[in-house]
Amino acid sequence: MAQIFPEWTNRLPVIIGAAVLMLLVGVVGFFWYYGSPKYTDVGYRPEQPIKYSHKLHAGDLGMDCRYCHSSVEQSPVANIPPTQTCMNCHTLVGLDKPTLDPVRQSWTSGVPIEWIRVHKLPDYAYFNHSAHLRAGVGCESCHGNVREMEEIMQVQPLSMSWCLDCHRNPDQHLRPPEDLTKMNWTPPENQAEFAGRVKKELNINPPVDCSGCHR
């Protein structure tokens, strides 16, 4: 009797096994890469209602971050400035610029400007800006070199493991208070010594417990 299955079918289980394995690796790999905040969140740059340039204000004009984000050292929240803050200067500067129309409109009508959130943590994670600044973590560590951004974008994944990397070993991210808002800051050679000292002085022991961020 002729054989029903030709000989190559003997290899079929192996082929199927290999295919399934490849598919599995593919799927896992796909989600590993495309599903991670590194891919989904880094580079997020939504179009804002106003073409506000951090490069111009913070970079070229050299304004300190805290002029606008004034509550960052006292509050868990680094506030988005009220229209009033814009108008402090723009009642005198840029009067002829149509790009500023929405700001003036907001100021006269009393209707706030609706910015689009770029750096977003999940609702169950409680981040405190003031605590991080007090410890000496600079703006740049999480927000990147804002002074060179025409439009604000996310440069770090802001994922839990990324947070924990620093919480477990913060040494390379601790700066003296005067350097907090500096960009392109690089740790000096004696950073390890500085970090060791400042950690003791300021009682810095970043929590790695769930309750540190989740309530």
């Binding site: 509050s75 609706e114 910015w115 689009i116 409680y126």
Partner: protein, 991 residues
């Protein structure tokens, strides 16, 4: 080990089912999640749930590709005092009839989220009760009235102002003839001033204050006794012996926070060498105060007066001089009561000047007159009780209310303005207010809801919440405080003060101006400066009045007593009915508050209902059992309501609390429970005999939590008498014998840093539930509804366990608040497959909600049953405005997630941030948990157990300290101080 045997012999039980140990109860216990809890049966059927799941997975697949756009909306002009992310705190006052509660309100970017007591205010002293805690939710009640209504149609404020302008002209001409105001009682200089203005413009007008539940009997009694309706204020901390006649002074009656604090202060012990006060209670219904009693005498409410008379005579026979006794006849008491009164009288005499007798608001005026006489005889006046004259007060007057109805009927009054009340719901059934209001030509109703009264009035005006309006108030002792708004009226409401001023002037004035105008006369020095200081403090310093001297009129008291016919003794054919304000819903005004509706009653543990409470003997005599519907017939009126058997209730006496059975309360409160006002009459507003009960064949299902989360007979609450405690100071920790505890694995060391712990003093805890509601408010705990409570799915993180002890008819009662015990060797953590619940370095058993996949293993393995599971997404479907009441510092949990007490980890974090910002350690007492902050008796202490000087360590060092189920070696961080009772040795012998 030598243990005090009678301590162990006590039998603790939670329900009749448990006492009977029947099959139903055992089956109930075996199920970790009671009936139906593990099936998906409600509100959607399993099949359509699966269908929906399929659909939503398909949709989720597509939706997840895009990151949702979230907006940040900053201020246009940021107010100077607002820093986004940091809450502000403002002082204000909750006016509550003649009482007022000074509070501190937390506000997040302009919306109030939490209410706490103001330490500087004499009636809160930093603590709070359930009504204050829950009143934040009322602000965001989506069912509040949102429009001015004219004839049921939407109108405007200017239309009403136009209408009133015409009326004002008319009434100015005839000096207010035919005009009447029906106000709630008040205690406020500005309101008194506005009333004065009104009466000056309309001298012929009528002004009537009405409250369905009030202390009028007390004022009437003191008027008999002293000639003046004065306000008693109790200093319970000065009383060694207290006798409460039908008075729930610790929980549901006037000034309960101050009373509870004073009472607990008189009971606080550091060691067996200290002394504590003794509480005697005689009552017909079982109250929280009765549960705290060292001796509780079960007497029908209508027979309480006999005890008061007997006590006067007993005191006289023991040598106290008493003119009242000379001029009245003694009464013959049953032997048990006579023994009680005799022992009590001796105790009172021995503690002359250091004792207190008080009677409840439902007792007739004669009892209050007698109580005054007794306190006077015992020289307690000026010590444990002081009297104040009520200035700027609108004292309710039921007789005036009856006259008003009469005048409405005859047409003498043609225009009626109802300010804030709901008389169509809460007026006596035979008063005829429902007819009278139809005869009136013009009716104006100011109310927070379009309630029973609003729908029958020509005009309805939305009333502002106290957090939306300006005002002022006096405490019972006269202390002045301001009512400061935190938010513009959400629905355009106005306050009663503004309306009275509008009625008086014909033109509207803003509340702020009215209040400031008055305070300009009160404040000395630079007004702006003192006004700002006043707003900051909330209370005007040293503004309390001086207690007034009173002079007893014994002949008047005797006359009143002799003129009274003896009360009928209740029997199976003529039962006694008791009308008491619900501790949670009060007179019904809190009916639409979900927190208060779901809160299990302290004594009956009923949630979302009231019921005909009766003793087992009464039920047996009537042939009824729990949940049987019976027909109540009283003076020609009928009401059908279900039965619930309440141990400790007097025989042939029933209790049906007021405040339920509303039909226009709103989404939450309409149709919940049974309306006891339908049986309440002008003559018998408090209690009466002559009730007939006939069983029906109907059964009504109720939600009762008394058997939920049972710890199955293990010695969870521990108590002893003071005498036993002195003999065996270590009775509490030694009550359970266990072999040396050895851990299966290497134990974690918790020796460094902050280590959080808590102590709950059961000797101070009264069971008032303030902690439960404070926790609910602080931690965004959802309400689940009656059906889910029946299924055992209530979500309270801190539950109040109530145990009965001993005799089924006359049990003692003890409370125990139980939240997560924060075990160091937490059994829940060992079974979580996804590490959603783990330990942190400060000893907290933390819960990462986002990791939880809902296996519920942790709850199964928790010996304390303190974990709560979200069977549904309870928060999602809430109207948006209710979300504003939520604490932004706490995660809102979703469906399928386990949750539990965290020791208020958000507050711990805030405290640590604050300390670090100042470069120091957290100070003891700086971080307070929500339950600790609310507790009126300071029964809860929280702190760092690694700090040997902290209050919590000092408490834990006491010999009454014990841990729940310590024998399991779970090493809980919460411990309890055993309860003590201080019985009179004389009475102990005789019983």
């Amino acid at each position: 080990m030598n243990k005090p045997s009678n301590v162990l012999n006590k039998e603790y039980w939670r329900s009749l089912n448990q006492l009977a140990d029947n099959e139903e109860y055992r089956k109930y216990l075996e199920n970790e999640f009671p009936e139906g809890a593990s099936e998906l049966n409600s509100p959607m059927k399993r099949r359509n749930f699966l269908g929906l799941m399929g659909a939503s997975i398909a949709l989720a697949g597509l939706a997840a590709c895009r990151r949702p756009v979230e907006k940040i909306i900053p201020y246009v002009a940021q107010p100077e005092e607002v820093i986004p992310g940091i809450p502000n705190y403002y002082a204000s006052t909750i006016p509550f009839g003649l009482e007022s509660f000074g509070v501190i309100v937390e506000s997040h970017e302009g919306h109030p989220t939490k209410i706490e007591g103001n330490k500087k205010h004499p009636s809160t002293m930093g603590a709070s009760n359930i009504l204050q805690q829950a009143s934040i939710l009322d602000l965001y009640d989506p069912d509040r009235s949102q429009n001015v209504l004219n004839g049921g149609k939407i109108s405007t404020w200017s239309a009403f102002e136009g209408f009133w302008k015409g009326m004002h002209k008319e009434f100015s001409a005839n000096r207010g003839k035919g005009l009447a105001v029906l106000s709630r009682s008040f205690h406020s200089p500005s309101m008194a001033r506005a009333q004065h203005d009104f009466m000056k413009t309309f001298p012929q007008a009528r002004w009537v204050n009405y409250e369905a539940v009030s202390d009028v009997n007390i004022y009437a009694g003191l008027k008999i006794a002293t000639g003046r309706p004065v306000q008693p204020v109790y200093r319970l901390d000065k009383a060694k012996v207290v006798f409460a006649l039908d008075a729930d002074f610790l929980y549901s009656e006037t000034d309960n926070i101050r009373n509870a604090r004073g009472f607990a202060d008189g009971r606080r012990l550091k060691s067996e060498k200290d002394d504590m006060n003794r509480l005697y209670v005689a009552e017909g219904i079982f109250t929280v105060t009765g549960g705290m009693a060292d001796h509780r005498l079960r007497v029908n409410t209508s027979q309480i007066i006999n005890l008061a008379v007997a006590l006067v005579h007993e005191l006289k026979s023991l040598g106290a001089r008493s003119v009242v006794a000379d001029q009245t006849k003694p009464v013959q008491l049953p032997e048990k009561q006579a023994v009680f009164i005799n022992a009590l009288a001796k105790d009172l005499i021995a503690n002359r000047g250091k004792s207190l007798v008080l009677a409840g608001r439902r007792q007739p005026a004669e009892v209050h007159a007698l109580v005054y006489a007794i306190n006077n005889t015992l020289k307690n006046t000026g010590n444990a009780v002081e009297y104040y004259t009520l200035e700027d007060a609108g004292i309710p007057d039921p007789d005036e209310f009856d006259l008003l109805i009469n005048d409405l009927m005859t047409g003498t009054v043609s225009t009626l303005a109802i300010l804030g009340g709901n008389p169509l719901y809460d007026a006596p059934a035979d008063a005829g207010f429902d007819l009278a209001i139809q005869i009136a030509q013009h009716t104006i109703h100011l109310g927070s809801h379009v309630d029973e009264t609003a729908s029958k009035c020509e005009w309805h005006l939305p009333m502002a919440h106290f957090l939306e309006s300006w005002g002022d108030a006096r405490a019972l002792d006269g202390t002045l405080s301001v009512v400061q708004p935190l938010i513009e009226p959400l629905f355009g409401g106005r306050s009663a003060l503004e309306i009275v001023q509008l009625l008086a002037d014909g033109t509207p004035t803003r509340g702020y101006e009215i209040v400031q105008r008055n305070w300009k006369k009160v404040l000395r020095g630079n007004f702006e400066h003192s006004w700002k200081k006043l707003l900051h403090e909330g209370v005007l310093e040293n503004s309390a009045s001086k207690p007034v001297g009173t002079k007893m009129k014994p002949a008047e008291i005797a006359k009143a007593l002799n003129g009274r016919s003896p009360a009928e003794v209740p029997s199976a054919h003529s039962l006694e009915i008791n009308f008491v304000a619900s501790p949670a819903l009060f007179d019904g005004r809190f009916a639409n508050n979900g927190w208060l509706q779901e809160l299990p009653d302290s004594v009956s543990k009923l949630s979302w209902d009231n019921a005909v409470l009766m003793s087992l003997q009464t039920a047996q005599a009537l042939g009824v059992k729990n949940e049987d519907v019976v027909l109540l017939e009283f003076e020609g009126r009928e009401l059908a309501a279900p039965v619930w058997i309440q141990p400790g209730q007097a025989d042939f006496s029933i209790l049906l609390v007021l405040g339920y059975g509303r039909n226009a309360a709103g989404r939450i409160g309409s149709g919940v429970g049974f309306n006891a006002y339908r049986l309440r009459t002008v003559k018998h507003p408090d209690f009466a005999t002559g009730l007939k009960i006939t069983p029906t064949s109907e059964v009504y299902e109720m939600a009762n939590t008394q058997d939920h989360n049972s710890m199955e007979g293990r010695p969870i609450v521990r108590e002893a008498s003071l005498e036993e405690y002195r003999k065996e100071p270590n009775f509490a920790p030694e009550m359970v014998e266990h072999p040396p505890l050895v851990s299966l694995w290497e134990e974690h060391s918790y020796e460094e840093g902050y280590q959080w712990g808590m102590v709950i003093d059961l000797n101070a805890c009264t069971g008032c539930n303030a902690c439960t509601i404070a926790c609910q408010s602080e931690n965004n705990i959802p309400i689940v509804g009656k059906e889910q409570v029946r299924n055992g799915r209530e979500m309270h993180w801190l539950r109040m366990d109530r145990y009965f002890i001993g005799d089924i008819d006359e049990p003692e009662m003890v409370y125990q608040p139980v939240g997560c015990q924060q075990c160091e060797n937490a059994p829940c953590e060992q079974v979580c497959p996804v590490q959603a619940t783990v330990h942190d370095s400060e000893g907290l058993n933390v819960m990462a909600y986002n990791r939880c996949i809902g296996t519920r293993y942790c709850s199964n393995n928790c010996p304390y049953k303190v974990r709560r599971f979200n069977f549904f997404n309870y928060t999602k479907d809430l109207p948006e405005i209710v979300h504003m009441a939520q604490n932004p510092d706490v995660t809102v949990r979703s469906r399928g997630v386990m949750e539990k007490c965290t020791y208020c980890t958000q507050r711990i974090n805030e405290g640590k941030y604050a300390a670090k910002a100042e470069g120091r350690e957290v100070k003891d007492g700086e971080i307070v948990s929500a339950c600790e902050q609310a507790c009126p008796t300071n029964a809860i202490t929280f702190g760092n157990i690694n700090d040997p000087n902290s209050a919590v360590v000092q408490m834990k060092k006491q010999n009454r300290n014990y841990e729940l189920l310590a024998e399991l070696n779970v090493q809980p961080r919460t411990s309890y101080l055993a309860k003590l009772r201080n019985p009179n040795p004389e009475l102990e012998k005789s019983s």
